[in-house]
Amino acid sequence: MQTKHWIALASAAALVVGCAAMAPGPSDAEVRAKAAEVMKASFKDRGQAKVDRLTQDETQATCSQYAGKELPKDVAARIEQANLAAIKYPANGNYLGDWKRGEQIAQRGTGFQYSDDPAQPSGANCYACHQLTKQEISYGTIGPSLHNFGKLRGYGDDMKKYAWGKVWNAEAYSACTNMPRFGHAGILTEEQVRDVVALLMDPASPVNQ
């Protein structure tokens, strides 16, 4: 909150300076439109990363608009409902793949950068942001620890379905989360999501040891 206040103060200070010298500053929507125009003129296609990636979907646009501010409850609910409705569950009803493959996917940080080979499978890079196992000490802290994810929550079908949904599209449960929508955005294949869910939910997985 402190940091958000500081940003708000800095913006306010900039505005005060602006008002003192000139006419009132542009509206938030005008600045956003200007930023979109500036970005369009500043990026170029490279490898698999084309400029169409700068075209935001509704979730991205709304979360950008409210970044650094309080997200109104109705807006959050709208984002979560739309993303929940978009979750694709496995056709065969099987949520759990192979946790060993899931661990490899969790370790791998490549995929979708212009420097990556699009022919190679992408990683989920879970360890960049989460603790998962006791063995891996090189983990990030942007997301919560997932150690004992299944053990703490239970291994029932409802939890498996929830874990699937969370990996597939985290915006369904937590509007404007930092977490990518791995299934929804096509970062991981359905098979890969199954393996990552096994890493979280298989009682034999090192996550639950």
Partner: protein, 268 residues
Amino acid sequence: MIGTFRAALAVAGIACAVPLVLAQSAADEIEKYRRALQDGNPAELWEARGEEMWKARAGPKNASLERCDLGKGPGVVKGAYAELPRYFADADRVMDLESRLVWCRVALQGMTEADAKRNPFGSPERKADMEALVAYVTGESRGVKMNVSLDHPKMREAYAVGEKIFFFRGGPHDFACATCHGEDGKRIRLQDLPNLTSKAGAQKGYTTWPAYRVSQGELRTFQWRLNDCFRQQRFPELEFTSPASVALTTFLAYNANGAAFDAPAIKR
């Protein structure tokens, strides 16, 4: 100097090779490694090469850059970087250091803009003139307090646009700059992340670029830092000295105001 690097790398290597060591003690070891690196910074080599280049006649006009106006008058290098980006009336736009160096190479030395922008990020096989020039100019602001002014309306616009870009979420991963740099005390794997939305975080982050990157054996500029962040954000490529890059730099540099500039630094 090289010996110190090797010893430090060995220390870090031992920390990584012991699987049961706790993350915190690993982080402590990395911090020790970072401190050990400060003993000798190869960025000095870039600074020296940049100074020679600044003074050497070059280009179709066979002129040096010594009359280049970085904002404090023609030829004034001392302290200039601490006031950049700024609005330049002759170009009628906001420029960061790299944009201004391109401008001077065109205006004073007669180079084409395309030539002045070629190879902005070097490799061991192909050193970049731009990285050397930036190393020299930024080194001349070491210890000077950051003092970027938003008095000009175009600076205020650049700041506001830069702030929006900082929070802009896009691409397959929905990432923004703020995803990784919006909260205190976060890290990716074991890499600490500055919170660039806080005064202290912006000051620490901004004032330690450019930096010699040990892992790459190159001196990297702030333009490179932004370019490579967007690569990892899964965005298309940020063009060198593009308006978005200058706006974002304006946002971050202004937020760092008041802190003593402390680069070229050295980073892992």
